[in-house]
């Protein structure tokens, strides 16, 4: 059972209330495809991912970035039940999409970088730690249904 402090709870909810899902989702997801290019293997149907400029302007990349953020919001809305919330998504990533779960934290790193650049000084070490913990719980829940 994950135990959240009041600080962690309010911090996570505060971050997600401040960020624009379309902007942050697109930025984080495109960054992931650029910085860790092997992650492109899962997006063969997305069209032109040939270089950073193509990835950044790819409309399927931006809409998928938003999808990811909306999925993360589900976890934010029910922080005490993230494992249950993501049971289906975990099975999807494992059985249908067949994503190597080590990739989840790569996206997590990029999301952290984007949120950090948006919040700047407000992204203190303590806020960063809370965000990291949230991401770790999300990743762990997404790994649960893999066998």
């Amino acid at each position: 059972m994950v135990v959240w402090t009041d600080f962690e709870r309010t911090t996570i909810q505060d971050i997600f209330s401040k960020i624009d899902y379309a902007v942050v989702g697109q930025a984080a997801f495109s960054r992931c495809l650029i910085v860790y290019p092997w992650t492109q293997r899962y997006f063969g149907g997305f069209g032109n991912l040939y270089n950073a400029a193509a990835i950044t302007s790819n409309p399927r990349v931006s809409s998928h970035g938003k999808v990811i953020m909306e999925a993360l919001e589900k976890a934010v809305k029910d922080m005490d039940n993230i494992k249950a919330t993501y049971a289906e998504l975990s099975a999807l990533h494992s059985e249908k999409l067949q994503v190597d779960p080590d990739n989840f934290m790569l996206l997590g790193h990029c999301l952290t970088i984007v949120v950090a650049s948006q919040l700047s000084k407000a992204f203190t070490p303590e806020v960063h730690a809370a965000f990291q913990k949230f991401l770790a719980v999300v990743v762990s829940s997404l790994r649960k249904q893999y066998y």
Binding site: I34, V35, T112, I113, S117, Q118, P125, A129
Partner: protein, 144 residues
């Protein structure tokens, strides 16, 4: 992993020029974050009186780390040779688990993103990530 291309090296050198004058602030923030966000790293600093973000030993160590990274940028064409003595230090004296190099690197990248939100583009990010991975590799050379 992959070696640094000429473009990577140019990108790193150009971006790192922005850091001049801000080394202490960036180094302190990176080390503070590492200790806060990845508490297992505190195990290497049990000899410090104060492990809190921004404390004197943290600030000092941040400066030390940044001086070394700046030096590594200048030795980007031969990191293994240039970081030989640092590698020996980390391997034989400090005995830091090399997995932690990635942790510090990640925290440094987060700080750079907060300090240079517009300059830390995805292209700079990938070059810096590769560079820090190459530095980590050079530091691991003498381990075994």
């Amino acid at each position: 992993m992959t070696s640094l291309s000429a473009k990577d090296k140019d990108t790193v050198k150009a971006f790192w020029a922005n850091v001049a004058g801000k080394e202490e602030q960036i180094g302190c923030d990176a080390v503070s974050r590492m200790l806060t966000v990845y508490p297992q790293t505190k195990t290497y600093f049990s000899h410090w009186k104060d492990l809190r973000p921004g404390s004197a030993p943290v600030r000092k160590h941040g400066a030390t780390v940044m001086t070394a990274v700046t030096d590594a940028v200048s030795k980007i064409d031969d990191l293994t040779g240039g970081l030989l003595s640092l590698s020996e230090l980390h391997a034989f004296t400090l005995r830091v688990d090399p997995a932690n190099f990635k942790v510090l690197a990640h925290n440094l990248l987060v700080v750079l993103a907060t300090v240079f939100p517009n300059d830390f583009t995805p292209e700079v990010h990938v070059a810096m990530d590769k560079f820090l991975a190459a530095v980590a590799h050079a530091l691991s050379e003498k381990y075994r």
